[in-house]
């Protein structure tokens, strides 16, 4: 069941993968901080920043998701940590997309749903990054 037991399969994480997964965390963190700044200041420019940061997070997260789906072609990855990783990426993308639509509402109509979704998506992105950078070892993806 556990593919990571086979140490001969372990390769270092591809640098592009490490970059994408780290950048996704940074972007969604920026979105959450921007939402907090808007919620506390009523300065609408912060919600514009959040909209763009979410859009960029969706772009990078989307690339990760596509490669994770391609990776699922391998039968030994359709279970365990890799499958969980893929599902987290999928959740990030779907909730992030809903968050993008929420952020497309005008002015205070974004609140509070936008802030809550930004926090959830950031937590999921942190989880995905933790898995990818610690012991996922999916050398050939992307």
């Amino acid at each position: 069941m556990d593919a990571t037991v086979d140490r001969s399969r372990q390769k270092p994480l591809h640098p592009v993968h490490a970059f994408l997964v780290s950048a996704t965390v940074t972007l969604f963190l920026g979105a959450l901080l921007s939402d907090i700044a808007y919620a506390t200041s009523y300065q609408v420019q912060w919600t514009n920043f959040a909209s763009w940061l979410i859009a960029a997070g969706l772009l990078f997260g989307g690339i990760l998701l596509v490669f994770a789906l391609i990776g699922l072609r391998h039968a030994d990855r359709r279970e365990g940590r890799y499958l969980l990783y893929g599902l987290i990426l999928l959740a990030i993308w779907l909730l992030g997309f809903i968050n993008a639509l929420v952020h497309a509402k005008d002015a205070w109509a974004v609140m509070p749903e936008g802030l809550i979704l930004s926090a959830i998506v950031l937590l999921l992105a942190c989880g995905a990054a933790w898995m990818a950078l610690s012991n996922l070892r999916m050398g050939d993806a992307p």
């Binding site: 999928l90 959740a91 809903i98 639509l101 929420v102 497309a104 005008d106 002015a107 205070w108 999921l124």
Partner: protein
């Protein structure tokens, strides 16, 4: 371990159910029209309702007018005609242009801007005034000349004596005009600058007071509902009173989100306006309106609509301003987008003698489109009385295609309604049948 995926599925079903929308079943032109419109609950799904006009050519078709009236195209191939002015000798001036260009601040601005552009003409704005003349009174405007060009998105037009005033998107200017003139003899003189930073709603409506001392300029808001920030709204969403001689100006009435056309009531001298209300609160909310404009009055935007109905999207809120908000006189229907208003004259005949004509550009923020016609709001004793009557319709065909979009309307005292159409770039003229 599948909880994230389940969440995602739950989120998707929220998305889907939010898009399905039963409030659209409300019949067109029903509850939200008239002096006391019914205001439903606010609603907004994850996506705003959008139905964008799908343009088509007129071909042999024509807009529909009431029995006993005829319609003719008196000018075609204009370059985005907006407002018209009937001069004392019967000549017609048309302002042509396309202003705006507010920066795109969010992904939504980029995407929605592209989608909405599909419902408009792709012709470049003329930035000019075209003069049309019917030399022999046969209803055919055989002479056409460019009265002035190199203007900046001209919109509102007004004549006081021998001075022709033009509201560009950034300044009020004037030309000398004498009866029969077909071309401006000199460059315009600036009367005053107008607020033009960002210019989200760029059109500057214009009319002159009955005594010719003042001009009234309609200045639209810089956003739908403050999403460009409160600072961008300083000096916006109001009607200015401008001294015609000196250019000195002051806010005459405020809180009018987008006062797109102004008119002075014959007899009383009262200023009236049609106003485009905010979007994304639902298909039947809030009504665009026709109202008499009270000096010093505040009409709600952005804090509230139709009197004291608070808009929760505005922060910080202002309960004092909400309490002071005036309820408009007459709801025209939500999202119909009135862009023209003109008082009728007895020469228009019959049931259309006393009232106003309103040009409705038509909706985007609604599943079932509304507007896309010119309606007549009957008046009695100087006030709106009764339901609006379709006067020019058929701009949006039963095939779902849109062949024209009405903007400015003006009344020729000899008995004709002039309608500018900025989709087919046509000027229409409706007259009682001979």
């Amino acid at each position: 371990m599948k909880r994230p995926a389940l969440w995602a599925v739950a989120g998707l079903s929220v998305l889907v159910s939010a898009c399905g929308n039963d409030a659209n079943r409300a019949q067109e032109g029903s509850a939200d029209v008239g002096p006391q419109p019914v205001l439903p609950e606010q609603q907004r799904g994850l996506l705003p309702n959008m139905t964008i006009a799908s343009p088509a050519q007129w071909g042999d078709q024509r807009p529909t007018v009431p029995r006993g009236y005829v319609i003719a195209a008196i000018a075609t191939d204009l370059r985005i005609p907006r407002q018209s002015l009937v001069l004392p000798n019967g000549d017609i001036l048309v302002a042509e242009g396309k202003g705006g260009g507010a920066p795109k601040l969010t992904p939504k601005d980029v995407i929605a801007g592209y989608i909405k552009a599909q419902g408009n003409s792709s012709v470049k704005g003329g930035d000019r005034l075209t003069l049309l003349r019917d030399g022999n009174g046969d209803g055919i405007y055989e002479n056409r000349s460019v009265f002035a060009e190199d203007l900046n998105a001209p919109y509102g037009l007004a004549l006081i004596g021998n001075q022709l005033y033009v509201a560009n998107q950034d300044a009020l200017v004037r030309f000398d005009y004498t009866d029969g003139q077909t071309r401006a003899i000199a460059a315009p003189v600036k009367v005053t600058d107008l607020p033009s930073a960002i210019n989200h709603h760029w059109t500057k409506a214009l009319t002159a007071s009955a005594d010719g001392r003042f001009l009234y300029v309609g200045i639209g808001s810089n956003s739908n509902i403050t999403e460009r920030g409160m600072i961008a709204e300083v000096g916006r969403a109001m009607v200015w009173q401008v001294d015609a001689q000196t250019g000195a100006h002051k806010p005459y009435a405020t809180g009018l989100r987008n006062p797109t056309a102004l008119a002075i009531q014959p007899g009383t001298g009262q200023l009236w306006a049609v106003v485009n209300e905010r979007d994304e609160l639902g298909p039947n909310l809030p009504p665009d309106y026709l109202t008499s404009v009270r000096e010093g009055g505040f009409y709600g935007w952005p804090y509230s609509y139709w009197g004291q109905n608070v808009d929760p999207r505005v922060r910080p809120q202002d309960p004092q301003k909400v309490a002071a908000a005036i309820t408009p006189d007459y709801g025209l229907g939500s999202h119909v987008a009135p862009l023209g208003v003109a008082f009728s004259t007895p020469a228009m005949g019959g049931e259309f003698a006393d009232g106003v004509f309103v040009g409705e550009h038509g909706s985007w923020n609604r599943e079932n489109p509304v507007g896309y016609k010119v309606v007549f709001v009957p008046f009695r004793e100087g006030r709106p009385a009764g339901a609006p009557i379709d006067f020019v319709s058929g701009f949006r065909g039963t095939d779902g295609k849109t062949r024209g979009r009405p903007v400015g309307v003006s009344v020729d005292p000899r008995g004709a309604l002039i309608v500018a159409d900025d989709l087919s770039n046509t000027l229409w003229r409706v007259t009682p049948a001979p």
